[in-house]
Symmetry: C2
Subunit: 237 residues, 2 copies
C-alpha cells in the first residue's frame, strides 16, 4: 500500500499492481469498484478511472460494466518475439500434430542450464503429419515444479503442460543456426549437413529457474516470421 509516486493516479496504479504481483489479489479476484477507490483515496472518479484504465491497458486487470474490475489471467502464449506454439503452427498448416517422447530421466542440472536440485530431463519429437518437424530437449526444475515428476509426457508436449500449470514471469530466447549432426539428422530424417534452426528458451518465475527448452527444426521446413511497426504500440487508449 505504501508506495510513493509523484502523482496520485500513479500511486493508485502502484498500489493495485503491488497487490496483484504479491499474490494478495489473485487472477479472477474482483478489485474494489471505482467509487470505493474514490472514498479510499479521497479523490475524483476521473483520477481512479485513469489509474484503472492504465492497469487494464497494461494487462493487469479486466473491466466489465456492471460487474466491476477483475485481476486478469496472465497471458501465456508468447507471441511476443514471434515464436509461436508448434502445435498451433502445424494445425494451421492443415497437418496433423503429434508428439512422441524419446527419453526421460531425473538428473542434476546440465551445464547449459544452471539450476539447483534435480531436474526432469525429457527428449521428444514434434510431428507434422508423419514427418518429424522438431526435436525438443527439455529440462524442468523439480524444485520449482515437483508435480512434473508424476506427469506422463508420452504424448503431450511438456511445453503446453507447463504453461498451463506454472505461471512464469521472465523468459529469454536464443535463435541460432546449427548443422544437424549425426544424432539430430537421424531423428529429423534429414542429411547430417542440413542447416537447422535452433530456438532455445529459458524461463523463470521471479529469479527461480523453471524450465529450459531447446527446439531444433530442419531449416528447409521451418522459419520464423514476424511483422512489426517501429517501436509504436497500438494507440487505442
Amino acid at each position: 500500500m505504501r508506495r510513493d509516486a509523484s502523482t496520485l493516479h500513479q500511486r493508485i496504479i502502484a498500489d493495485v499492481e503491488a497487490r496483484i504481483r504479491s499474490g494478495e489479489w489473485r487472477p479472477g479476484h474482483r478489485i474494489p469498484y471505482e467509487h470505493e477507490f474514490v472514498a479510499q483515496y479521497g479523490c475524483a472518479r476521473a483520477t481512479v478511472s485513469k489509474a484503472l484504465q492504465a492497469l487494464q491497458a497494461a494487462g493487469f486487470i479486466e473491466r466489465r460494466k456492471k460487474a466491476g474490475s477483475f485481476v486478469a489471467q496472465p497471458q501465456v502464449h508468447a507471441a511476443l518475439l514471434g515464436i509461436p506454439d508448434i502445435r498451433r503452427v502445424v494445425t494451421e498448416r492443415g497437418e496433423d500434430y503429434g508428439f512422441r517422447l524419446l527419453a526421460r530421466s531425473v538428473e542434476p542440472a546440465s551445464d547449459a542450464w544452471p539450476c539447483d536440485g534435480a531436474v526432469l530431463r525429457l527428449e521428444g519429437v514434434h510431428f507434422a503429419g508423419a514427418r518429424p518437424l522438431a526435436i525438443e530437449h527439455r529440462e524442468i526444475s523439480l524444485v520449482a515444479v515437483p508435480d512434473a515428476r508424476e506427469v506422463d509426457f508420452a504424448h503431450e508436449a511438456p511445453g503446453s503442460w507447463l504453461l498451463d500449470h506454472i505461471p512464469w514471469t521472465d523468459a529469454r530466447h536464443r535463435i541460432a543456426a546449427v548443422s544437424a549432426g549425426p544424432r539430430i539428422a537421424r531423428l529429423l530424417e534429414v542429411d547430417r549437413h542440413q542447416a537447422c534452426l535452433q530456438v532455445e528458451r529459458w524461463t523463470w518465475q521471479v529469479d527461480r529457474p523453471i524450465t529450459f527448452a531447446r527446439q531444433t527444426f530442419p531449416g528447409d521446413r521451418y522459419d520464423l516470421v514476424g511483422d512489426l511497426t517501429p517501436a509504436r504500440r497500438p494507440a487505442d487508449a
Copy 2:
C-alpha cells in the same frame, strides 16, 4: 482526417496517427498545441490531452513542456523482434566494424520482392575486425527512394543510410537457417556446409515497398537473443 471512431478522443488519435503514417507530418514536426486541437474539435482540453497522451505512450509523438508536441523519430533499432543493428553488435563486442560493397546495379525488381519500377541492387559484406560477419543482399525501390541512385555505398551500409532518410511504417522479418552453399561460403570464408542464420526484412511506407534486405550470418558466430515478459506492459500511464 476523416476517420470514424466511436469516441471523440479516438477520432483525434486516428486523425493524428494518419497524418504521421502518411508522411504529412514527418519526424520532428511540431503538431498543433492542445488548445489548437480544442478549437478545431470544439471539445474540452482533457479530451485532447487524453488522445495526445495515448499517442505519446504509443511512441508516435514526444511532448515537451513549453515547446509543444512533436512527431517522434521512429525507433530504428528493431529491438522488438530482437534483431539488432549489425554495426552496434560488432562495436559492442569490442571489434572494429566495416562494410565493403561488392556489387551494384540498377535492374527490375527480383522475384523475391514484388516492386514496381527499377530497383537499386546492392551486395556487400559486413566485417567484424578482419573477418566477414554477414553478407547483405539489398534492393531499394528507386521509385520510393530516388536519392539512393546518387549515394556512394562503398563503405557505408545501405541500411543505416536508408533508415536516416526514409521513414518506414511497416516491416516484416523472416528468420531461417540455410546452408552456406559455395557462393556464400567463399564470401564468408566458411565451409560450404556451414549452417547460416538468414534474416530477411521487407520494409514498407504505407503499402509502398521501400527496401528488401537479406543478411546471412555464419551460424557459429552469430545468434539472436531476446528477453521478454508475459503480456504485461509497464503501467506508467
